[in-house]
């Protein structure tokens, strides 16, 4: 195991330590989704997935 992998793992674990208090705050303070909210999110995310598939097709052909 080289030191670069260990350092990267330490970096990611520090990132988790940084994120956990924010996660607790966001989980307890986020408003509930209303009807149609998730559909409004899915539409652009499906667009992103389709666009990435297109890019992958472009670079692999």
């Amino acid at each position: 195991m080289d030191w670069l992998k260990i350092s990267t793992a330490i970096f990611l674990i520090l990132l988790l330590v940084f994120l956990l208090p924010r996660a607790k705050h966001m989980l307890s303070n986020s408003p509930k989704a209303e009807k149609g909210d998730w559909q409004a999110v899915l539409l652009p995310l499906i667009g992103v997935v389709g666009f990435i598939v297109l890019l992958v097709w472009m670079v692999s052909k």
Binding site: M1, L4, K5, S7, T8, A9, F11, L12, I13, L14, L15, L16, F18, L19, L20, R22, A23, M26, L27, N29, S30, P31, K32, A33, E34, D37, A40, V41, P44, L45, G47, V48, V49, F51, I52, L55, V56, M58, V59, S60
Partner: protein
Amino acid sequence: MDNYQPSIAASSALSVNKVLRNTYMLLSITLIFSALTAALSMVMQVSPGVSLACSFGALALIWFVLPRTAQSAAGIGVVFAITGLLGFGLGPVLNHYLSLSNGSELVATSLGGTGIIFLALSGYVLTTRRDFSFMGGFLIVGLIIAILAAVANIFLGIPALSLAISAAIILVMSGFILYETSQVVHGGETNYVMATVSLYLSLYNIFTSLLHILGIFGDE
């Protein structure tokens, strides 16, 4: 008293537009600055260790310095330091991909793809004016799961998992662009320094993850 209601609404809209304009202006400048530091580190042929040290430095600035300076003019300097360090840290990654036979195509496609994703998602929020604040908890949990999987994969080294993590990060960061832009539009985020850093980190992660995916599929 009712006569004052339209002026309050107009004042609020002006304030939101100001935050939005300042965020996009600072984001544009920091992206250019970041590209310059990335070019510098490519020329200097810095090692992956230096790249990791830059990431540690940027994390420390985001963690300890940014929250204390975001409300002052010093915050702008801190944003440049963060984006400069992260840009400098990209040098070894870019040199690696550019050494491939179709490397310049991969980097250019990732850069263009990231720009199109950002413009499309921002345009979607600005056009629909929907409030995506309900996504906050979902996005942060998604990010934590992706980071945990990334830590595990450092030791497991499974290529398919690495690909899945990159795909998940692109989706989570796309969600964060919707979330952060919506926060600015609806007045939930009034500090353009914080909004810029948040959007920059989303763009940075989308670019590196997209480069990783295209590098796997497009490597000749």
